[in-house]
């Protein structure tokens, strides 16, 4: 997929989100949990950026920081030319119309006490102050758009299956006609067959409405399918960014290579030599010095233990943060 090189709709520069670690009766801050530490990326209109990484590496915090569900500690988040971190809450509310989020767990993300109309139509109610009768009709249209029946408008979440609930979550994200949607592991909690349906739905919606996605997942095969570009995250930092094609054809960072090796191949006759990663993932509260990946890396040198790796640009937007990956 070739996209027109337009101005990015979202430009994240040096995003840091730290959580204080408090101890004792006086709740003194004894340290910082660096969930997201100096992350930079951009997304162009209509483009999909995949963000992958293992559990606990800060993907979700990163996503929530962008729409300020979590307050970032530092960095710039430029969305449609406005710095999300600096605008007041009232203006932020307006900006939220254009950036929406689809959550991972379709059971937790829908309010069990509210009907589908109230859930999906909430944004319309807040931003456009329409009467409920009109909202109900629009919610019906949205439900049809995500492949549900419009007769569901008066139902409650507990009457639906996981896949259907996720469709309701998608309808909610679509309601305000956003330009950018964050899919925070939007398919991870679903069955594989349902995953395929939801991903196809997301792709169809993108081609019809042309919004940009930040697609977060821990499953590389899912990300490969939907993304134009992919960023790989490890312990709060991005270690490699490339177009989807480049990354899968020619991964450079040892972590990316290990991740790709871990993807199961649906072929029982093929015996693949799996290079397993050794060692434990360090905690975010006490990060190793130098390159964060060095305790588990096979190619580490003395330099890796001391210095943070620089960005190495391999052309065509392929950037890798590694001492040993220089050409």
């Amino acid at each position: 997929m070739q996209k027109v090189k337009a101005e990015p709709i979202l430009d994240v520069e040096g995003l840091k989100t730290y959580f204080p670690i408090k101890r004792g009766i006086l709740k003194r801050t004894v340290g910082w949990l660096k969930a997201v530490d100096d992350v930079s990326f951009f997304i162009r209109p209509g483009e999909t950026l995949g963000l992958v990484g293992e559990s606990g590496c800060g993907k979700t915090t990163c996503a929530r920081s962008i729409i300020r569900l979590v307050e970032p500690t530092d960095g710039e988040i430029i969305f449609k030319g406005k710095n999300v971190r600096e605008i007041p809450e009232s203006e932020m509310r307006e900006l939220r119309r254009d950036m929406q989020i689809i959550f991972q767990d379709p059971y937790a993300s829908l309010n069990p006490r509210m009907s589908v109309t109230s859930i999906v139509g909430e944004g319309l109610r807040i931003h456009e102050m329409q009467p409920w009768s009109e909202i109900r009709a629009r919610v019906g249209d949205l439900l049809e758009e995500v492949g549900l029946s419009r007769t569901f408008v008066n139902r409650y979440p507990h009457e639906f299956s996981g896949g259907q609930r996720q469709r309701i979550g998608i309808a909610r994200a679509l309601a305000l006609n956003p330009e950018f949607i964050i899919c925070d592991e939007a398919v991870s909690a679903l069955d594989v067959s349902i995953q395929a349906q939801i991903i196809n739905l997301l792709e169809d919606l993108q081609s019809q409405r042309g919004f940009a996605y930040l697609f977060i997942a821990h499953d590389l095969s899912v990300v490969e399918h939907i993304s134009d570009r992919v960023a790989v995250m490890y312990l709060g930092k991005i270690v490699e960014t490339a177009t989807s094609e480049d990354l899968y054809r020619d991964p450079r960072h040892p972590y990316t290579i290990a991740l790709l090796n871990a993807v199961p191949v649906p072929d029982p006759t093929r015996k693949k030599e799996v290079k397993r990663l050794r060692g434990q993932v360090p905690t975010l509260a006490s990060l190793p010095k130098g390159c964060r990946f060095h305790p588990r890396c096979e190619r580490k040198t003395g330099q890796c233990e001391q210095e943070e790796p620089p960005a190495v640009d391999l052309g065509n937007g392929h950037v890798v943060y590694c001492h040993e990956c220089k050409k």
């Binding site: 929406q100 944004g123 409650y156 639906f160």
Partner: protein, 329 residues
Amino acid sequence: MDEEKNTQPVTQEVEAKPGRSLWGDAFHRLRKDKFAVMSFVIIVIYLFVAILSGLDWIAYNYDKQHFKRDKNGKETTELDDYSKPSLGHWRKTDVPGRDVYIPGHLLGTDVQGRDVFQRVVQGTWISLYVALIMSMIYIVIAVFLGALAGYFGGWVDDLIQWFYQTTASIPGLLLIIALTFVLGKGLGNVAIALGVVGWVGLCRLMRAEFLKHKGRDYVLAARAQGAGSFRIMFRHILPNTFHIVIISFSLGFVNAIMGEVTLTFIGLGAKPEQPSWGRMISDARAELARDPAVWWPIVGATTGMFIVCLAFNILGDALRDALDPKLKE
């Protein structure tokens, strides 16, 4: 994945009928519980009786004094004091075939010849009136402060916590007595004092619930939609925690009724002429010491109180079972 482009989901999975909310669901479960239904019916009867007597449609002559009757059934000028409960009886008169029916007092009469049963009925109104005012006051305070503390955290939480810890550390009865001295005696003031003192328990529960819910995905989703704090607190989180308020209301009602009785017993609540259950129980101190003991006023008042308290307790437990999302079968 491309081959099986299936954007048409199985929509037949749930047939098109109007949805049933979780409240509807809980109501359905509650209806299956026989004891709960019975308790509910009893409470409704009490409410009905209370309203009717409050409007003076029944038991309006609870303070009417009764006079002794002569052997012809004519009222004398002598005041009837204590008389035992009776259903009434026919009395022979001098004229044969013209016997008169003397209506009895179902629960006897008190020291001034007033019908105890009518006073018990009138007491229903007083009790429910006190309980209702108290509940309204403490529920509003508890929900509002609990919601603020749990949702906003930080210094708001610290302040509210300090406030309820201080309130809780003063013995409740003392605080109520102090408040009624400030506000003055009387039932309305007793109700206010009970409400002002009784909010701490529910407030703690609400704070914990809001704390738990504010990080949930559905709340984040609402914020992502642009919902403000108050919309999230009262439109999103409150309905999800409201079952606690309902249960607390049902069980707290009992405390209110008994609180009124206790305070009247120590002389702070109802005035002597008011027919409250507490007043009747208070008077029983002297009555039970008599020989033969006058037992009917206290039996009437405590039975009236016992049945409604038991009904509220059973209903409260049934509500807890029906409304708790974790106990769903």
